[in-house]
């Protein structure tokens, strides 16, 4: 009689490392983390402290991604994680957040007291927004949104609260670790918010083929379709993205001037890596006159 071997028991930290380490599917791409590290160090942050923040944020982001995947019933992308009981999968998401919170506490205690407190406040503010955004995403029936303006406004707010808040924390936190300069911290938080919103739009438009399985989820294409009596024509999606990217790129550039040149260059490079070159398309000004968006 053959005996089926019991699956190996994996230590708590090893279990977390499986899906949160830099090469894991649910970890933020290394190129993002490298840019965040460079940003903090360029502005005068101690390398070890900036690295600690980047690690905390990366774990927080992994926890959020896992939670989002579980709640949307998406593929987890890791064979070991996918075979675990659902209760344990949810527990691992919470555990990654607990570890991130521990990273943050250790980091904050190594910073000047006021800076540490402000970093805590930025963290709690943005994490709360992420929680509210996810709650609204899960609880807001698409059919209840009424007219098109409501649908697009609601979607825009969700993008700000979800990925927008996550990136406001990423960039703002790196700068907060490095400096007490409120103007620079504000600029980094604001740039991060726009960058995160762009990522939400971009991923949502790219993923629209797989969204049929989630008919109740508010997506950009669905919100836009509510504005068009004829529904969304696939050929019009590129124009929507190009205009969004053009406007947001212009907004990013306007906010970035508050940061030193070297920091601006790091963020511009990150934007280009994430979304490609900025489009050069005519965009109507507020007066209705066509103006050109300059490439980066």
């Amino acid at each position: 009689m053959s005996v089926v071997p019991a699956p190996p028991v994996i230590d708590f930290h090893a279990a977390l490392a499986r899906w949160t380490d830099s090469s894991a599917t649910l970890a933020p791409p290394t190129v993002w983390l490298t840019a965040l590290q460079q940003l903090g160090v360029t502005l005068g942050g101690a390398e070890s402290l900036v690295e600690r923040f980047v690690q905390a944020w990366s774990r927080l982001y992994s926890a959020t991604l896992l939670l989002d995947h579980l709640q949307d019933d998406d593929e987890l992308g890791d064979a070991w994680l996918a075979t675990q009981p659902e209760a344990l999968q949810y527990h691992l998401a919470f555990s990654a957040y607990a570890l991130a919170n521990r990273d943050l506490a250790e980091l904050a205690s190594a910073l000047p007291p006021t800076r540490g407190l402000q970093l805590h406040e930025l963290w709690s503010t943005t994490v709360l927004q992420m929680a509210i955004g996810q709650y609204r995403d899960l609880s807001l029936p698409v059919a209840s949104l009424g007219d098109a303006q409501q649908a697009l406004d609601a979607y825009e707010e969700l993008a700000a609260q979800k990925t927008g808040a996550a990136f406001a924390l990423a960039l703002g936190g790196c700068v907060q670790v490095a400096t007490d300069d409120v103007v620079q911290i504000d600029a980094a938080v604001n740039v991060g918010l726009l960058l995160g919103m762009l990522l939400q739009y971009y991923d949502d438009l790219l993923d629209r083929g797989s969204q049929a399985a989630q008919p109740g989820t508010l997506t950009l294409a669905r919100a836009w379709a509510a504005q068009l009596a004829t529904g969304v024509d696939e050929h019009s999606i590129p124009m929507l993205w190009i205009l969004i990217y053009g406007h947001y790129h212009r907004g990013l550039n306007a906010i970035l001037v508050a940061l030193p040149d070297a920091a601006q260059a790091i963020i511009r490079e990150l934007v280009q890596t994430m979304f490609g070159p900025a489009p050069d398309v005519p965009i109507a000004s507020s007066t209705g006159e066509a103006v050109s968006v300059q490439p980066a």
């Binding site: 971009y202 836009w224 590129p238 969004i244």
Partner: protein, 74 residues
């Protein structure tokens, strides 16, 4: 203060509002961030309207997904 029920109710409401403001400072600072950013970019619905107007005139290339497509938004 005359101790009337109406005045007591008004006082209690003021106290409740003050406690709410103190208890939720993070909400207020997030509102400030959103207000700053909203001045930098148009509303999404305004951009969507432009896309409807400009789409048929300009068209768009098919290679517009310039980035890597992270699939890691949340």
């Amino acid at each position: 203060m005359d101790g009337s029920p109406q005045q007591d109710a008004g006082t209690l409401k003021e106290v409740a509002i003050a406690e709410t403001v103190v208890a939720t400072p993070t909400e207020h600072s997030w509102t400030r961030v959103q207000a700053q950013v909203s001045r930098a970019v148009p509303r999404l619905r305004a951009i969507a309207t432009q896309a409807i107007l400009l789409g048929p005139i300009i068209g768009a290339s098919t290679d517009f997904w310039g980035g890597g497509g992270s699939g890691r938004g949340c």
